[in-house]
Symmetry: C2
Subunit: 177 residues, 2 copies
């Protein structure tokens, strides 16, 4: 998996299982035993990212200040989403629906987001009229917007604008630069 | 173009130029003269959507209440974006970069967004710390988020949350349902 991560970071979906085997110092048969196709390998990388995100959401839900924890978690997740987007696009190109295929993992992430959001809402740091499905969609949209932004500056301002929409009226960063 | 629009609405990127020729009641040679490949046809459909969006942005910029006009334009554009996304994805799959290929059209849209946003900012209806690049990225992210949302209800709440981020602190819809 470490070798697959490293190679995907450089070559993206053009990676080959042969390269991964070479970099990991194992035979191609070993890789194929675990991942019968390149798509299975990409799917495993994608699932690993989902697990990592869910674990971070759970950690954030245990943090002392739920509002700060929610917005820090979202900002980090969005700004670190390019690999996840590249994997999701590669899987979609291969005809694999990442949302339906993610199964238990997607549920774990939804559960973690629900706890994190509910705590922030109780603390008055997030708007009260949304739930985990809206938060997940905002997270997805913000990640896509970040990938679309033409520069680092535009990216950071765009992410702040979108996430500000999650705050209740009294807590908006608003025109702050 | 009308035939291509109709067939794309039903079949998506699986449409064939032969079908378009049949539906338009012209020979395949006529279609190929205008669109030497299916990708050129999809690109023409995409450009048509961009032109339409820019035209709507210009109309919104002439409306009496700039704030209402901006948010109505954005909401309509996002909720009507599924065809544009499908076309952009099909072109990306064919290796065509829609952003760099859109040329003058993208500039026209940026110009129209700039006028619309500036008028709303002057009226105090949009936050002051963003420009057209951020607005374009938010529009793109909101469109992707709308496509990701699991139901109509989640979609409409998600779009409202994201667009609320564009409002100055005093004008947020906030916890209103």
């Amino acid at each position: 998996m470490q070798a697959a991560r490293d190679i995907f970071a450089v070559k993206g979906p053009a990676l080959s299982t042969e390269e991964v085997a070479r970099a990991a110092g194992v035979g191609i048969g070993t890789v194929f035993r675990h991942f019968p196709s390149k798509e299975k390998l990409l799917e495993a990388l994608y699932h690993e990212r989902l697990d990592h995100t869910a674990e971070r959401a759970r950690a954030a839900a245990r943090a002392p200040d739920p509002g700060v924890a929610l917005f820090d978690f979202l900002t980090e997740t969005v700004l670190d989403s390019s690999t996840k987007i590249a994997l999701a696009d590669a899987l979609a190109d291969a005809g694999i629906d990442v949302r339906s295929g993610a199964g238990t993992r997607a549920h774990d992430l939804t559960d973690a987001l629900t706890v994190l959001l509910t705590r922030a809402q109780r603390a008055g740091a997030a708007r009260a009229d949304i739930g985990a499905p809206e938060l997940a969609a905002v997270l997805y949209g913000a990640s896509r917007a970040a990938a679309f932004a033409v520069s680092e500056e535009v990216r950071s301002r765009t992410v702040r604008v979108i996430l500000d929409g999650l705050r209740p009226p009294s807590r908006r960063a608003g025109a702050r630069r």
